[in-house]
Symmetry: C2
Subunit: 323 residues, 2 copies
Amino acid sequence: MDIEDLAQRVSAGERRALARAITLVESGRADHRAQAADLLAALPQDKQALRIGLSGTPGVGKSTFIESFGMMLIRKGLRVAVLAVDPSSSRSGGSILGDKTRMDLLSREKNAFIRPSPSQTHLGGVARRTREAVRLCEAAGFDVVLIETVGVGQSETVVAEMSDLFLLLLAPAGGDELQGVKRGIMEMADIILINKADGDLKPAATRTCADYAGALRLLRKRPQDPEGYPCAMTVSALEESGLETAWEAMEKLTAWRREHDFWDRTRATQARYWFTEDVKQRLLARLQEPEAKAALEALSDEVAAGEADPSVAAQAFVDRLGG
Amino acid sequence: MDIEDLAQRVSAGERRALARAITLVESGRADHRAQAADLLAALPQDKQALRIGLSGTPGVGKSTFIESFGMMLIRKGLRVAVLAVDPSSSRSGGSILGDKTRMDLLSREKNAFIRPSPSQTHLGGVARRTREAVRLCEAAGFDVVLIETVGVGQSETVVAEMSDLFLLLLAPAGGDELQGVKRGIMEMADIILINKADGDLKPAATRTCADYAGALRLLRKRPQDPEGYPCAMTVSALEESGLETAWEAMEKLTAWRREHDFWDRTRATQARYWFTEDVKQRLLARLQEPEAKAALEALSDEVAAGEADPSVAAQAFVDRLGG
């Protein structure tokens, strides 16, 4: 594979080259990993997209929202990429993006690019691959990269760690319940969007929005937020209402953060975080190499048979691994 | 430190030597780690205690239960050690065992040994240290090792992975609610104990017990369980009632598992698990060594400044680490 050529074609915004490049970074093969590193190193570092993380449990209308919101951005002349982080997708096949037909219009737009979650059960692996895919989309000149997650396990944290903005999409709740949204997730959100503010559900959506706005006011003020953020608002992905207002809120927040130096600082912190995570992953990946794996299994048998203490055997193994 | 001598004194059941040995395995210092490995290797491998994991949130009467249950075992002529896994203890100081005075009688018994959780925020570290402390207690001839946890984060899983039996201690619930016990934790439990079956709370305890018994019957049958297990029963740690019945249930289950080869098989599986975990921890610990740490920080600065891609820098770092 000609990596230089691929890097150039990705940078020129060719969608097929982008798809191929993502397939490369998703591969676990050692030679592919080396090629992927070369590819990433060959890409220009100067293009930045707005990375928007989007979390919402199944049933809140996430794919409809992405479709409507994405089409609105396309109409504004922006290029939109959609990626997914779903560590469960290999087991359940449950990723929304596994089914592109649910984003019928967007998937046919030449200025849109939709990519399902890499199928892998290990969140760390999905995270690294998705982050590299984000970089590829940026190099390919996309203006907005939407990173969606269904919020299984720690996946919201993973997505928030690679996003400039984090959106939480919710459905109208009955009564004044706060849908059991974990406090930690609330604290990650920059904007909470109550979807389905249409038809019969509109009053419930308005009430739910007020509840969340109240809850957000109780959270400690974060340095990266201007007055009035984080905020809650209603949208209807179905009727395509509220989307402009939501986009304005995102643009305003982004502009403020750029101006007050939080944009660069957050990206730098995130880059450090991913670098450290990546080092750990690669270090642990050594245990999967054939020789190490065989030695590990042999020692594991001794430990299971009670012939060696786990700690003592572990020390011996790591010493032997050298380095 | 004379490790041979320490190993002998631990094996002779000297409590002060045991305390000193646990302090050694809890230390993070490299020279102490090496000595700890020597110590563990020098211990006899043939003594086994009954390892009982005990989980329960604050307020269910865990320390009172340990006191009453432990004293009952002592009266039976058994030697009882109590250890804790509490990854939050260094932050909150919240470990029950941090306050030995709450187990007033037990802490004064010469056949009892109580040790609070090693103070560390990292669950992996706490887990390894606790598992090594269990081994030391076994070598010191304790018959029962109780490993308690308040169930923060993944700590129940950690404790279950080092236990022969796993107990879940609960308080009586109002109405027919199941106290929001996570399904995963229910599935780990061998015996659910509803505490505080005394005074005004007795009817509620009986009802809660029936609710859990019903819920347990809905779970899939596990191969390691004889007929009638997992089970739920009421106890009163305060009035010391139900404890004999609970102990009989534990003995019966243990005997069945020994007879049907599940005891050895579970221990072998656990030993494999801990060996693998320990290898990973030790591998990652290399990143904390001065030279690696300095190199990591320098590269991290480059990554944060946008001069290098996180993946590319990570690959370069791991290559340089060698091995």
